[in-house]
């Protein structure tokens, strides 16, 4: 009898898998629709831009979704980590320019300077995450309202401090020489840094998946998303895991900010808030708590934004909100969200 129920369970899964394939084909197919009014060359350029943008949004969204899934915390200060990452990267690039590693630098120096920036952002973001979690977020577990208010307050403070340390105005970011310019592949212009962005996004996705699927830490985090109490009674300090995940999420957001600043070649203090909106949409689309879901969501948002922005610029964000609404109508918990 026991084996019967088990096989029944497996069959059931097989059934949903089949349905899933159909949905997958349909949802991939939709992305070729813009070809009806956009010429193929432009479409290819927009697609690369959209993928790059999606990857960068994913950096912010992955942390947001993990923090929500594990800790049930909606962290509205996530945009602040992002913008701090951007400014740290900007300052470090300025400093590196003094030693000639940025403009007019060789390939190795260019790669080195970007890696240094990412490392600096990682450290700063991570530290900010730990401090924020230990000082403030810890007080708000269990109350969404308090979380939202406190993290929003923290976000205001962090962005204001940023304006004091740097300036409230736009700044131009220098791009390391090796990443300036673009390649021309059969009339398709591909900006070099977009490719870097895609690579970094894929590396981060791979890294997260590796840690989550292959390590003990990953098992603990996934188990914590499902049932915190069981994890605690098995002898793990879930609070420490919380701090760790919050720190990692903040670090990822800061890395995303640095990448974004080089990608856009300019920064301003409100960019964290703007990116947070994208990340929230992505997290809702993907299903709160799912890294894979937010990856898919980020790609969708990045692509849709670029296709629509090319056709009707002011409606680009609106298109993403429409996608979100449609997905919520079909699946109220998002693409990969738990029921």
């Amino acid at each position: 009898m026991t084996t019967q129920t088990a096989t029944a369970g497996l069959q059931e899964q097989g059934g949903t898998d089949f349905k899933k394939v159909g949905v997958w084909i349909a949802s991939v197919g939709i992305w070729f629709l813009p070809l009806l009014w956009i010429d193929p060359t432009t479409y290819a350029v927009l697609t690369v831009a959209g993928l790059a943008m999606g990857m960068l949004i994913f950096l912010t969204a992955s942390g947001l979704t993990l923090i929500f899934g594990l800790m049930d915390v909606l962290n509205l200060a996530h945009g602040a980590f992002f913008v701090w990452g951007a400014y740290v990267g900007f300052s470090l690039l300025n400093a590196l320019q003094q030693v000639g590693w940025v403009e007019g630098a060789g390939a190795a120096q260019s790669i080195g300077s970007v890696l240094l920036c990412l490392l600096a952002a990682l450290v700063v973001g991570g530290l900010m995450g730990i401090v924020l979690e230990k000082m403030l977020v810890r007080l708000t577990y269990g109350s969404h309202l308090k979380q939202i208010l406190i993290t929003m307050g923290a976000s205001l403070i962090l962005v204001e401090i940023l304006k004091v340390v740097w300036s409230p105005n736009d700044e131009v970011v220098m791009v390391p020489a090796a990443f300036q310019g673009s390649w021309d592949i059969m009339d398709v212009i591909i900006t070099k840094f977009r490719v870097v962005a895609i690579v970094v996004g894929l590396v981060v996705l791979g890294g997260i998946q590796l840690v989550m699927m292959r390590t003990k830490l990953g098992i603990i985090v996934r188990a914590g998303v499902e049932n915190k109490e069981v994890v605690e009674t098995l002898g793990y300090n879930i609070r420490r895991v919380f701090t760790g995940v919050f720190c990692a999420g903040a670090a990822l957001a800061a890395v995303g900010g640095t990448m974004w600043s080089i990608f856009k070649e300019q920064i301003h203090p409100a960019m964290g808030e703007e990116n947070l909106i994208f990340a929230l949409i992505v997290v809702i689309i993907g299903g709160m708590g799912s890294v894979t879901g937010s990856f898919l969501g980020a790609i969708m948002v990045g692509l849709a934004f670029n296709y629509v922005a090319y056709t009707l610029p002011p409606l680009a964000l609106g298109a993403n909100i429409m996608i979100m609404a449609v997905i919520l109508l079909i699946r109220p918990t998002g693409l990969m969200g738990k029921e």
């Binding site: 909606l74 403030l136 007080l139 969404h144 309202l145 308090k146 939202i148 208010l149 406190i150 929003m152 307050g153 923290a154 976000s155 205001l156 403070i157 204001e160 401090i161 304006k163 004091v164 808030e273 703007e274 909106i277 929230l280 949409i281 997290v283 809702i284 709160m288 610029p313 002011p314 964000l317 609106g318 909100i321 979100m324 609404a325 919520l328 109508l329 109220p332 918990t333």
Partner: protein, 376 residues
Amino acid sequence: MESKTMQPTPVQTERENLRRVRFTRPALWVQLVLLACLIAGPLVVPSFRAMDVMTKVMIFAVVAASYDLILGYTGILSLAHVTFFGIGAYSMALVVFHSGQAAWYHIPVAMALAVGISGILAVALAFFSLRVKAIFFTMMSLALAEFVFILGDQWHDLTMGEDGVSFSLPGIFSVNWSDGTFLGAALNGRLMTYYFILVASVLLFIGLVRFVRSPVGRVLKSVRDNEQRSTALGYKTFHYKVLSNVFGSVVASLAGVLFAMWLGYVNPTSVLGIPVMLNVLLMVIIGGMGTLYGSIMGAAFIQVAEAWLPDLQKLAMLLLPGVEMAQRLAERWILYFGILFILVVIFFPKGIVGTARDVIARRKLRLAQRDHQTGL
């Protein structure tokens, strides 16, 4: 049976007592004094700045109270409340602006537009996101707020973009209209607009109070307490949440119409921006969530602070002339705002009115206990 007709039950006694003190309870007097101050204010203190602050307090008290209905009484955290306020403000501005010449009927048309658009939008927002976890609503509302802001900022043909829209009001509300003096104060368009806003915001506020004290308000309270139980009593809790959300949003949009009338100018940052939303949120929390009257306190606190904080900044700069960092810090008043925000949430979660009510309730309890003991 006879004893029932002879002796009123304690419930009936209490009701009778309440009815008897209807016109003598202290809260009523506080309200009347407040109203009298608002009516006499512009006549007694003929300062435009004072009148400006008073008007903004009235309007934002209504916005904050309507937000409290959603946040405090229904337990939904919306970040799009100011969006509805902005829709009202833009309705007023654009109706006049696009018709070229202001006419008296533009005001009711703008109000109808505000109610219609925000009503439909509120229903749609609630329908999409209230069915699942409440947290979805928050995120959806934030996205909506951002979207409407971008529309206001970039749909240049309709909204004039970030430059905003200036317009003049018709008839006796026009800044150019004046007709001698009244009780020593200049009788002009400003004053008439002020009184119009006074009447309208008092009516809106009374509407909110009535809503909260109606059977619907009681159901909302029960939903916050134990939603499953409300459902088992036969209440469709989803409908109640939608109703209160729509009612609150519509009131906010009407307040937006009043705000536009007062300023004669709207732009995206002043009526749609996230900082305005945070302002309103802070008003509700400082005043006390779920108290409605707290909104008046909260609105007064924030508006007064905003009006006179720049003076404080100038003072700080005078006192510390050489320190550049101090000046930069003084400029960033949102920083203090953020700190205040966190401190209030952590240390003063019940707000002014909520804390006051707690103190009064505790004192009553202590008195009752003492009576009980001495009675023995």
